[in-house]
């Protein structure tokens, strides 16, 4: 189980997170929705300590750490229980696809080389990119890079994978293949927290949808509750705009 309690974060005078708490059960897929600047990405980055929150606690499994005062040892432990998929992929430019997937296993977890290679190859095959294992990131398309990014996260068997707008840098044709892979991550029963603007993905895959705005959690519930019967006025406004925009494609 993963629990974030009373997370607060501001950049200068600009308060991004006001007292945010989320609870995630094992195997859950949490989708966080919200307009730009609502603090979704910051929340995700605070969980992985890519950003240091100003207050709050984080519990992953048995371990509870203070989001502000965590020691570097605790931060490393948390990071080794989590994995992150970046909006702009952030593959290691100096490593091949296979080396990208192996890096965390070998250097951070000290898995023997042969085992790490086997596991990395299996994971690459699972995202459908075994043929590209010796390609450098600059030789891969955006969608392929993001699938390697997902393989790099999944191979670590983390307790939770954090997805930060994994498809928003992709062109529309490549979004599908990437979402399919993310969906199969969910089917593996891996706990995920996903920040996305893909509404249909949220509807299909999420076990819980969280709507954030202005650094607050406005509303949370099952996809059916949020999309069909939103309670808060702000949620209705946001969804009305997004969904009418999505329907435009079908006209």
């Amino acid at each position: 189980m993963i629990e974030i309690k009373n997370a607060k974060k501001s950049f200068g005078k600009n308060e991004i997170l006001h007292d945010v708490s989320i609870q995630v059960n094992k195997g859950d897929v949490i989708v966080i929705l919200g307009p730009s600047g609502s603090g979704k990405t910051t929340l995700l980055r605070c969980i992985n300590f890519l950003e240091k929150a100003d207050a709050g606690t984080l519990t992953i499994g048995e371990q509870t750490v203070d989001l502000k005062k965590a020691s570097s040892k605790e931060i490393l432990e948390i990071r080794r229980k989590t994995a992150f998929v970046f909006q702009n992929y952030s593959l290691f430019h100096n490593k091949t696809a296979l080396e990208n997937v192996m890096e965390g296993l070998i250097t951070a977890r000290h898995v023997p080389y042969a085992d790490a290679k086997k596991k990395a190859e299996d994971t690459l095959a699972w995202v459908g990119l075994l043929a590209k294992k010796d390609a450098y990131p600059c030789q891969l398309s955006g969608g392929q890079q993001q699938r390697v990014g997902i393989a790099r996260a999944v191979v670590l068997d983390p307790e939770v994978i954090l997805f930060d707008e994994p498809t928003s840098a992709l062109d529309p044709e490549l979004v599908g293949e990437t979402l399919a892979v993310i969906k199969s991550v969910a089917e593996r029963g891996i706990t995920m927290i996903v920040v996305t603007h893909e509404m249909s993905f949220a509807q299909d895959v999420a076990s819980k949808v969280v709507f954030m705005d202005g650094g607050f959690i406005v509303e949370e519930g099952t996809p059916a509750e949020i999309f069909r019967h939103p309670k808060e006025e702000r949620t209705k406004q946001f969804l009305a705009r997004i969904i009418s925009a999505e329907n435009m494609y079908y006209i």
Binding site: A83, F84, T107, A108, R109, Y136, C138, L156
Partner: protein, 235 residues
């Protein structure tokens, strides 16, 4: 003005005789510059409190001093203060025991450190912040990320600039002539003190420096090609 090939040949031979001094005056500063340059660049890139701003100020100030001026100042300081300094430390060496080439090496090392630090720092900034975050996200420590992800990406960017710094240091080493150190330039014009064939002497020095720097550049280009395999053509 005539050109006497015999005098020219004498000058080349005399210059080559002092090539080891030029090697000392370039390779030691290059090595010191690389080590200190990397260290200072890392301190500044990671914004280590206290040291980063201090070093930034020192380097900016030091880069404003011409090499000749620095050399003169160190030489004078050395001559004025070394014996007293040795006495304070109860060292039984005097000024005469120290080869002045070390003053040249010292001054060139400081200059090489400043220039190389700037090149390396620039190369660090060319690596996207996301590369650090990706390293941390798969559970690497800061040091592991630096060693396995960042430095391998910094080197190919820094190499062309460092080659420039190295060639600059080779050519800069000729300036130590002003404090009486004999290296390739001073060595090449030694025969001219008898024959007055200064023109041949300077041409000889130019030729030796030219060959030396060409060799260094060729070598650097080879290394650059090796590190380039993963880089986009357009970066």
């Amino acid at each position: 003005m005539g050109f006497n090939f015999i005098y020219f040949y004498d000058s080349v031979r005399s210059g080559i005789e002092y090539l080891p001094n030029t090697f000392e005056l370039t390779f030691i500063p290059i090595l010191v510059g690389l080590c200190l340059g990397i260290l200072i660049a890392v301190i500044r890139v990671y914004r280590i409190p206290f040291f980063a701003p201090l070093l930034a100020v020192l380097i900016t100030l030091y880069q404003g001093i011409p090499l000749v001026v620095a050399l003169m100042i160190y030489h004078l300081l050395f001559m004025a203060a070394f014996n007293n300094f040795a006495a304070v430390l109860h060292l039984s060496i005097s000024m005469a025991d120290i080869n002045t080439i070390w003053i040249g090496i010292f001054a060139l090392s400081l200059h090489a450190t400043c220039y190389m630090e700037e090149s390396i720092k620039g190369a660090f900034f060319s690596v996207d912040q996301g590369q650090y975050e990706a390293g941390y996200s798969v559970g690497l420590t800061r040091l592991q990320t630096l060693r396995r992800i960042i430095i391998p990406q910094v080197i190919p960017v820094a190499l062309p600039m460092l080659t420039n710094n190295i060639v600059g240091t080779i050519k800069g080493s000729s300036i130590v002539m002003v404090i009486g150190i004999t290296e390739v330039l001073a060595g090449s014009v030694i025969p001219a003190s008898k024959t007055y064939a200064f023109f041949e002497g300077y041409i000889a020095a130019a030729l030796i420096y030219w060959i030396f720097t060409i060799l260094v550049e060729k070598f650097a280009m080879r290394i650059e090609k090796r590190g380039d395999k993963y880089r986009r053509n357009l970066v």
